[in-house]
Amino acid sequence: MSNRDPSLRRNAPKLVLHVPEPAFRPGDTPDFSTLKVPPAGETPRPDTTVAAAETHPLTTALVRVLGEDNEAVGPWDPKLDPETLRKILKDMVTVRIFDDRMYRSQRQGKTSFYMKCTGEEAIAVAAQTALDREDMHFPTYRQQGLLVARGYPLTEMMNQIYSNKGDKLKGRQLPIMYSDRSHGFFSISGNLATQFPQAVGWAMAAAIKGDSRIAMGWVGDGATAEGDFHSAMTFAAVYNAPVILAVVNNQWAISSFSGIAGAERATFAQRAVGYGVAGLRVDGNDALAVYAAVKWAAERARSNGGPTLIEFFTYRAEGHSTSDDPSGYRPTNEAKLWPLGDPVERLKAHLLAIGEWDEERHAAMTAECDAAVRAAQKESEKLGILPEQGKDGIETMFDDVYAEVPWHIAEQREAALEEGRN
């Protein structure tokens, strides 16, 4: 008889498989009162030169700067000038309006797909603001704020979304999979987490060449489960790479809550501990905390202090993409009840609290952003929308597979062109 027969071991306790389940499902009323949200200003800020281990208590804390009274408090307050704060706010508002317009465009059938970053705007925008213009990003698909904060033309983004005549990627990439070398924004891959170790490779190259630029890699909570996450952390630690590795923990990977990626056992920031890498856990809905944490990690990397893993704790307020309906797996009011609030509202309230903003100016700025997005959309749509594409320039489909078109692809190009003519 097989030794796997349970009857042979009837006195031993029966083993149970644990399958993580989120606290709330559709129909439940979310109650986040058990979520530990430390008060702003409480978390200490170590010097950027400390040993990695000294940061490890911070991997279970939460770096927060903006308090209940909307004032910036504590050692992590980056003490940004009001102009920079207003620029961050404006970029965040632009991203939100852009997302709404493009979401609508997809619903109108002008493109196939879109992904919003609603609720997560502070992360990419403030992170970029804390870095130098020349630093390199290896983003995943919800960091459109990096491009906006670096002043990448909105029309270019839309051209890519529409795969139109102005699309510099020649209609080859799914909408929002931007790429722009001059804005230090590496091509987004649909194969998740691949970019995370690539950021480490870029940073190692910068170190090999004695450069002063650093890299920042991005990954979502769900994709930390990929082997590439482990590769990135291992190589970053081994070679002390000048890289910032960011986990955007927005709680949801399509329909799988963060527990399916291991969040029931440890924070994502805690993974830094085992690799001996510096780690920070940051309120991702607090633009000032995001800025301060990235600035800290950048300073550390630039002075050969090595890599930092940062978990940005946030909430994906909308669906995964236009192909997703979250009401099928989570309560619809979860985003509203999320205890860390809305990042745009929080930064606006801060500017109001310090007397550097008013409702009138906010309304005017919002209108300005809205006009800019609409103007860009008008401009982009002149160059076409997705349903009109894919007919002209079929021959370009065969370019850039290799530097030179080899004979077999040239033959197939002829066949495709002939097929197009008939």
């Binding site: 390199m136 290896f138 510099k168 990627l169 020649k170 080859r172 990439q173 999979m177 790429s179 722009d180 070398r181 590496f186 091509s187 891959s189 194969n191 691949t194 170790p197 690539q198 950021a199 480490v200 490779g201 870029w202 940073a203 190692m204 190259a205 910068a206 170190a207 090999i208 060449k209 890299a215 082997g227 590439d228 482990h230 590769s231 990135a232 291992t234 190589f235 081994v238 370019d399 850039d400 597979v401 290799y402 530097a403 080899p406 004979w407 077999h408 692809i409």
Partner: protein, 337 residues
């Protein structure tokens, strides 16, 4: 002219190119101080320093993804995957990233890199040190796949691969690192020094990618081979006293179809050989191309000599390896019709 085995020739190619191009970096498992388990990178770290030649963690996915990031930066990585059997953890990075980055960025970023990896059987390596996975890569648009069969070609092809603007996989037939192997495992091992292609020029030269080599001219049958099997095919042609034309493909992608076509149109018969398993092997592509281009010149069905469709079995090395007996049977079949 110096005489080199394939390891020395590959090592020399590294040295020539690293001296010419400061952007070349070399890394992989055990390749630094120690010089690699097959010694291909011996002395490189001492000559070029630790930041250009270094050991990597046992992480093929990590090694390939680091190379991607470095190529994005502007370096030219020449990486070693210790055995081709270990390449699979890096497969996603190779297929989804290395192969596609030029295309998906409309050439804003390119991936000039070389992924070297010893492959193939005949060394009692068991199933995890004997595989021939080349067809998993020839199937992927954006990659070039190169397989040398002599020291001269190994150096020239590696230099050409390093200078190529696209990613190149160089599969190195490890059975013939130290000497050509005709498939007769029971006979004494021959060193490269007795072979004319062990004369390897000093300094820089290239063997162009995408060009096959007619290593034996003949009029009765065309044998298409690469890697170790080139030598097995040459021996079989001699033993069967056939006027066989043996073509060493050298590059699988892009394939030198003109050379193949000319030869098969002349001989009217064709045998395709490789160590890799039969089903969906690169031989299937070769057979399809030959029948597309040469059907009306063929006097017999094109045959394949391959490994079996099983994992590579340790104790049954010589029952698995496509050696002289399998060659003889197939040659007789093609010649009989």
């Amino acid at each position: 002219m110096p005489t080199m085995n394939m390891i020395q020739a590959l090592n020399d190619a590294h040295k020539v190119m690293m001296a010419r191009d400061e952007d070349i970096v070399v890394f992989g498992e055990d390749i630094g101080y120690f010089g690699g388990v097959f010694r291909v990178t011996e002395g490189l770290q001492k000559q070029f320093g630790k930041t250009r030649v270094f050991d990597a963690p046992i992480s093929e996915g990590g090694i390939v993804s680091m190379a991607v990031g470095m190529a994005c930066y502007g370096l030219k990585p020449v990486i070693e995957i210790q055995f081709a059997d270990y390449i699979y953890p890096g497969y996603d990075q190779i297929v989804s990233e290395v192969a596609k980055i030029r295309y998906r960025t409309a050439a804003e970023w390119t991936m000039p890199m070389v992924i070297r990896t010893p492959y193939g059987g005949g060394i009692f390596g068991g199933q995890t040190h004997s595989q021939s996975p080349e067809s998993l890569f020839t199937h992927i648009a954006g990659l070039k796949v190169v397989i040398p069969s002599t020291p001269y070609d190994a150096k020239g092809l590696l230099i050409a691969a390093i200078e190529d603007p696209d990613p190149v996989l160089l599969f190195e037939p490890k059975r013939i690192y130290n000497g050509p192997f005709d498939g007769h495992h029971d006979r004494p091992v021959k060193p490269w020094s007795k072979h004319p292609a062990s004369e390897v020029p000093e300094g820089h030269y290239t063997v162009p990618l995408g060009k096959a080599s007619v290593v034996r001219e003949g009029g009765d049958i065309t044998i298409l081979a690469y890697g170790t099997m080139v030598h097995v095919a040459l021996a079989a042609a001699e033993e069967q006293s056939l006027d066989a034309e043996v073509i060493d493909l050298r590059t699988l992608v892009p394939l030198d179809l003109d050379t193949i076509e000319q030869s098969v149109k002349k001989t009217g018969r064709c045998l395709v050989v490789h160590e890799a398993p039969r089903t969906s092997g690169f031989g299937a592509e070769l057979v399809a191309l030959v029948q597309e281009r040469c059907f009306y010149h063929l006097e017999a069905p094109v045959e394949r000599v391959t490994g079996w469709d099983t994992p590579y079995p340790h104790a049954y090395e010589w029952a698995y390896f496509p050696g002289p007996k399998r060659m003889k049977k197939a040659l007789e079949k093609v010649m009989a019709d």
